[in-house]
């Protein structure tokens, strides 16, 4: 069936099977492979995207459910090619990623979080982050990065 979705400001129309996951749609139909898939059961958060501005798990939705909605992925964060936005820069400065596989989902979760709570405490960051799993970092540098981004007014 036909689905029309806006991804990172660009309208896409595709003919897809009703069962196609939104994560597969974004990655393999649109070709935006920055959104990663870690568990396909909604626990790890690697596939987190912004759905009309709110974080959502792309692996728990069908592409057809996104009909008419506004989706944003990690590729939308940097304002210009070869640049980083303030949150991404804070992640590099704090060494908040190692393998980088969970990172896009965490960036999207934290983008929405900081929009809602621009001056969070460490405890608030940890709660907001607790729905995203990272196996490499032990989270400490991610927490540091989010606090740094907040301090810089990201």
């Amino acid at each position: 069936m036909k689905v029309r979705v806006t991804v990172n400001g660009v309208a896409h129309e595709r003919d897809v099977e009703p069962r196609l996951l939104l994560s597969d749609f974004i990655r393999h139909e649109i070709g935006l492979t920055g959104t990663h898939v870690g568990c396909e059961h909604g626990v790890c958060g690697a596939c987190t995207i912004l759905w009309d501005g709110a974080p959502a798990r792309a692996c728990l939705a069908f592409a057809v459910q996104a009909e008419g909605h506004d989706i944003r992925t990690v590729e939308s964060l940097a304002q210009a090619p070869a640049r980083l936005n303030a949150l991404q820069q804070a992640f590099q400065d704090s060494h908040a990623l190692q393998c980088g596989y969970c990172t896009p989902g965490i960036l999207m979760t934290m983008t929405a979080f900081l929009a809602e709570n621009p001056k969070p405490t460490e405890d608030e960051v940890r709660h907001a982050l607790s729905g995203n799993l990272c196996r490499c970092t032990g989270y400490q540098h991610i927490v540091d990065a989010v606090l740094l981004a907040a301090e810089r007014g990201a």
């Binding site: 099977e17 069962r19 196609l20 990655r27 393999h28 070709g31 935006l32 492979t33 920055g34 959104t35 990663h36 898939v37 870690g38 568990c39 396909e40 059961h41 626990v43 790890c44 690697a46 992925t73 990690v74 590729e75 964060l77 940097a78 070869a82 980083l84 991404q88 992640f91 590099q92 400065d93 060494h95 990623l97 190692q98 393998c99 980088g100 596989y101 969970c102 990172t103 896009p104 960036l107 960051v125 940890r126 709660h127 982050l129 607790s130 729905g131 995203n132 799993l133 990272c134 196996r135 490499c136 970092t137 032990g138 989270y139 400490q140 540098h141 991610i142 927490v143």
Partner: protein, 778 residues
Amino acid sequence: MTHSFGKPLTRNEDPRLLRGEALFVDDVELPGLLHVAFLRSPHAHARLLSVDLGAARARPGVIAAYAAEDLGDYWKPGPLLVPPPPVPGMVFHQCCQVPLVKDKARHVGEPVAMVVAESRYIAEDALGDIAVEWEVLDAVGDLEAALQPGAALVHEHLGVNVAAKVHQHRGDYAAAAKAAALVVRRRFTYDRGASIPMETRGVVAQWDPRADRLTVWDTTQAPVVIRNGLAAMLGLSERQVRVVAPNIGGGFGPKMMMFYPEEVLVPWAAMRLGRPVKWIEDRLEHFFATTHERSQIHDAEIALDASGRILGVKDVFLHDNGAYDPYGLTLPLNSQCTLLGCYVVPAYDSVFTAVFTNRTLVTPYRGAGRQHGVFVMERLLDIAARQLGIDRNEIRRRNFIPPDAFPYDQGVIYQDFSRLSYDSGNYAPILAKALDAIGYDRFIAETQPRARAEGRALGIGVVCYVEGTGIGPYEGAKVQVQGSGKVSLATGIGSQGQGHATAFAQVVAEQLGVDIRDIEVTTGDTDQFYWGVGTFASRGAVVAGSAAHEAAKVVRQKILKTAARHFECAEEDLVIADGKVHVVGVPDHSITLGALAGLANPMRGAVTPGTEPGLEATSYFGPAGGATASGAHAMIVEVDPLTLRPTILDYVVVHDCGTVINPLILAGQIQGGVAQGIGNAFFEQLHWDEQGQLMNASLADYLLPTALDVPRIRMDHTVTPSPLNPLGVKGAGEAGAIPVGALFAQALEDALDLPSKEIEILEMPLSPSRLWEISNGG
């Protein structure tokens, strides 16, 4: 020159990862790409009677379906990756994994059939079309029951479930025990866990008939070894196969296992079908099909004199090998050797039996058996200290290998088959720093008594460990100055997040005077570097880093020689800095490295005999032995008396990994290791039923620690450089994870005041409910 070596520089690899531009295996899209799904055994142990693929093959969109018999001569058990060590009298039965089940399935999740289709969705649909007849057999799970007469046999032709038996000893333990003032004997158990990288495994293969070449993208930690193996299996020369391990989403050991069945089958199918083929493991498959680690049962004893000096240790242990043993004896050997820890153990007698079970294969996962040895030794010392009335830290101090005793020969054979010898170390200052940082004395004198008076359960733990790192055989690196003035570095190891593109750049920058952002590092592409072994055993920085250093030194000489000719001056009069070479004292009179690279590759004239074109060098490094890192972890924990949930109030790591290349990356490695250690100690346990079914194969049921569970970790370092490599570095990848089980046991015992009730924690992992059972005498 600006030095970058040793500085906490941010990483070269980050921008692409942060923008979502970095290539992972599942990001590879190719025209005509086909997708694979595997039918896997639902039984832990069952004879395969028949497989009917007819309906699956007839489904629209299915291109092919294969069972074992369709593979013909290609069906072979996998190679033995690590042969058994040269220990006299040892027993080893080689039974390696097979591509698809032919006679019987030996663990749940073993692949039985492969479907190739136009989409993964269709391939998975077709799995439901396959009819399989099984004769279900009793499953072997319990290690001791597996060795009883009459137990079901994982490999019938052996007549037993023994995979291996190795006895190592030195000194006379019996005499030591006889002379001892105290002998402590306990049983320790350590149960299974899984590494769970956030990226599951995956393979994409493409055969190009015009180039007569196969390209394979693989989530492996060892692309060169995969290239060599695939070439041999597929009847190709190595030069015809390119294996790319691009960005890998975490490895932690199980991606070092080879060859996984899927790794063997996907390239074969791509060649056979003439179309590119992709398989990406889903998370459910990952729990069954990617290797696990950790089950061991130790019956260990320690003999001490009245002052707490160790006279000897005896250990008899069982190691759960899973259904096949392609990885040889690396894990139990690591346990056997690492048990000796930081201590002088005059007599040691250790024998292990590796046991075949109807469970997923066991191969190294971060720590790789070392944590078992550390757990046993540290627990024995804790118990001995109590019984002798000695402070737990004092008993460790009394037994530390003294700093003047290095290199220290432990007299046993290590996993790299050399005699276990510690290259360097100094343990007392590490422990002192850890105790100081955690505030041990004040905690014992003031904090804990006050907390107890308030009804709060606060405990402290302090444990010590060594970590064998940086083993051979070798790695190599090629350094080349490009015409652009940028420098390229290629090495054969793969990267799974360790920051090699930055750390190796720092090593090279030190020699070539260029900004690390101008050094492009390629790991994990066999077309970029031909030779290599892999990323495991905390060896990347030590072995590949040293090779990069050696290659950069040669390139430096070539730069100086070419520039000396250009400036018509002596090499000693030249300075390399900021990507340029200038004559000393005349910084305005300079030439860029890019221009020099051009001069070194002339279009006319002659290259002098004995010299080579370009500013390029390839070097190899093979260490004489492993570099032994060491450390101490200390923790203050509070346990909720009602729920028995622990909260870590403070966590300190003091670590010695020799010379540090990048303290920021090192901090990340330690923090991440501790997080996995915490998971292994208190969250993560694979639960099986009696039929060998894994009961918690999802991330909703197998709990990984979250940002709410891992505390802020405070860190300090001591530096005892390794004499075994030119950089003086030791590995650091596994240090964070190794001692956490022993630390949790000690701190939780202390918090709940279990010793006063004569209750001991002798097992890992724990959970609130298990801790409740233990503390109530269960």
